[in-house]
């Protein structure tokens, strides 16, 4: 009896698998096989790393030894074609920041060696040669650089304030990547749609807006958004070699002073503008003492916002939606709710997962907010530090080594 029941049960099991069993054909029909094309070969990924190395070496050589703007333009054209249009803007070093963050905080995610190299190689190059990556090897930089028409100079205070955005963008990107929520740098990359000739309408509008803006405000993305630029800026400040404007001694002719579309040339210190030293020292001390307060305020503000920010995570959002509005369970059109209900996962499981993620956001928001506080404090502190400069020289942090200024220098 038991065996019989088991037999029926197992038959039922098979029948459930195949409602309509495959027929036996009498006419000698042979079935086709589904086509499953292979992904891009791994060897080609290594080629990308190799191309990056070559392009970076060439860019560094052009910036420091050869000093020819023409060659740099051709190099950025190549970068635009290869990393932009051929590789569809993906893989890029800017986005790799998120992969590194995710692999540090999520042991389940394995970073590919190409991505890690795309993250590290430009930073190491910048540490030795300045931001030659931005000049020649970044497709996003190249597309903006080639479209500069009539760059306008921006006042320093505006540049300083807008210059805080990349720090905010970087901290948010790292926060979202580390919590496994989203890769916002890739999603809001304004130019990737242009490279692919295919994107959502709002992204096309954003991309074209950036390019049009870039005709007058040179490289708007690089200067006021690029999160990778923050890291490159840090590296470049301490770079061993850097593109010099003049090949020999500066004769202070001021010819180069408005050659830079990015306002990245430091002028010699105007002695009249240097404040009285004792007053400067007092202000310096006040600003130094203010830094921990900035950090705490930033961290506190971040932690206050963590509930709101964590809603970007789909699990947290879903859990909150189901708790706040239990009636959405009857909403047939809400795909997320319906999929959750049919998945057989219990509400407790979802809530506990969401709680863990929100806890991560709490810690992350403290760190991100504190970091933003530190950045604001340091920016203020930098306003009153005068390093006496005697010559016209590139601002190493912000200079992209595009080699435009070099041809303005009369010194041979």
């Amino acid at each position: 009896m038991l065996i019989f029941a088991l037999l029926i049960f197992s038959l039922e099991g098979i029948a459930q698998k195949q409602r309509f069993p495959k027929p036996e054909f009498g006419t000698g029909y042979s079935q086709p096989t589904p086509v499953t094309p292979e992904p891009r070969a791994l060897a080609l990924e290594y080629t990308d790393v190799f191309v990056l190395l070559i392009v970076l070496s060439l860019a560094s050589w052009i910036a420091i030894k050869n000093r020819s703007r023409k060659k740099m333009v051709w190099l950025s054209v190549f970068t635009l074609l290869y990393f932009g249009f051929y590789r569809d803007g993906c893989i890029c070093s800017i986005g790799s920041v998120q992969n590194v963050a995710l692999t540090i905080f999520d042991p389940g995610y394995a970073i590919s060696i190409t991505t890690l190299l795309f993250f590290l190689i430009p930073l190491v190059f910048t540490l030795y040669f300045g931001r030659t990556f931005c000049a020649g090897a970044c497709s996003l930089g190249a597309i903006q650089d080639l479209l500069i028409v009539n760059p306008l100079s921006m006042p320093q205070w505006l540049r300083q304030i807008l210059g805080l955005i990349p720090y905010l963008y970087l901290s948010l990107a790292l926060l979202f990547a580390a919590t496994g929520t989203d890769f916002i740098i890739c999603r809001y990359d304004p130019f990737v749609g242009i490279f692919r000739m295919d994107a959502a309408f709002h992204m096309v509008v954003l991309g074209i807006a950036f390019l049009l803006m870039g005709m007058f405000i040179a490289r708007p993305y690089c200067r006021f958004l690029c999160p990778y630029g923050v890291l490159l800026n840090w590296m470049s400040r301490f770079s061993k070699w850097h593109l010099p404007i003049t090949p020999a001694a500066c004769i202070q002719c001021k010819l180069c002073s408005d050659s830079c579309p990015f306002d990245a040339i430091d002028y010699p210190t105007d002695e009249k503008l240097v404040k009285k030293r004792i007053w400067g020292v007092n202000r310096f001390l006040v600003y130094v003492i203010l830094i921990p307060i900035w950090i705490l305020t930033g961290g506190f503000a971040g932690s206050m916002a963590h509930t709101w920010i964590s809603k970007a995570n789909s699990k947290v959002y879903l859990a909150e939606l189901l708790i706040r509005n239990p009636e959405v369970q009857n909403d047939e059109k809400n795909l997320d709710v319906q999929a959750f209900l049919s998945s057989g996962k219990s509400m407790e499981m979802l809530v506990s997962e969401a709680t863990i993620i929100r806890q991560k956001f709490y810690t992350g928001c403290w760190i991100a907010g504190g970091f933003m506080g530190l950045v604001i404090g340091m920016t203020l502190l930098n306003q009153i530090i005068f390093r006496t400069k005697y010559d016209y020289q590139p601002d190493k942090g912000n200079c992209y080594s595009c080699v435009r200024c070099v041809s303005y220098c009369p010194v041979k």
Partner: protein, 189 residues
């Protein structure tokens, strides 16, 4: 003399910072390298988790989507009354456009022998809307199912469909085994 001392001090600080930045990069690289993989990973759909919500057709960064329907013929019942091909309220079992479930007529119905019909997906026309998948899974064997076609997929850092997939059916798989075609791929767990 004083000037050269000052310069050497600045150089020393600069060099020290450079070395420490290099070390930091090394440490970050080292931590990253703990979970390093030399294998290439690509995105793929688990057909057993898929709920045919239709977002694959609209959420992909590509138009049309890199997701397309794949027919695993081993599982097909070659039915005349095909739940994936015909609309539920179709008035005729024919290839007439008004009877077809597929919005782009990407499924070709071909007579084999009485009473069996073969259904082949024209990949060029398929937009990955999963309407046929829903029909086949609800009324038939579920031999029609969605897969990410790897030579179309741009392998985005974060798959924009995976981000919105309500059933978390899309995950990274090894490129050496890039497909989860039903039949050779069976339900996990």
């Amino acid at each position: 003399m004083e000037n050269s001392y000052k310069n050497s001090r600045r150089d020393f600080i600069k060099k020290g910072t450079r070395v420490s930045l290099l070390l930091t990069l090394g440490v970050v690289g080292g931590i990253g390298a703990r979970h390093l993989t030399t294998e290439k990973y690509v995105w793929q759909i688990d057909p057993f988790k898929c709920t045919q919500c239709g977002r694959c057709a609209t959420s992909c960064v590509m138009t049309p989507s890199a997701v397309k329907c794949i027919h695993s013929f081993d599982l097909c019942g070659y039915c005349d009354l095909c739940g994936g091909y015909l609309k539920p309220d179709a008035n005729q079992r024919s290839t007439a456009a008004e009877n077809q479930l597929c919005p782009t007529a990407a499924i070709q119905r071909k007579y084999i022998e009485e009473p069996y019909f073969e259904y082949v997906i024209d990949e060029k026309l398929c937009i990955g809307c999963a309407k046929c998948v829903k029909g086949c899974t609800s009324f038939g064997n579920g031999s029609l199912h969605l897969q990410i076609i790897q030579n179309r997929c741009l392998n985005c850092n974060q798959c924009s469909i995976a981000r919105l997939c309500p059933s978390e059916a899309i995950s990274r798989v090894k490129a050496s085994n890039a497909y989860k075609v039903k039949g050779s791929f069976t339900k996990e767990g």
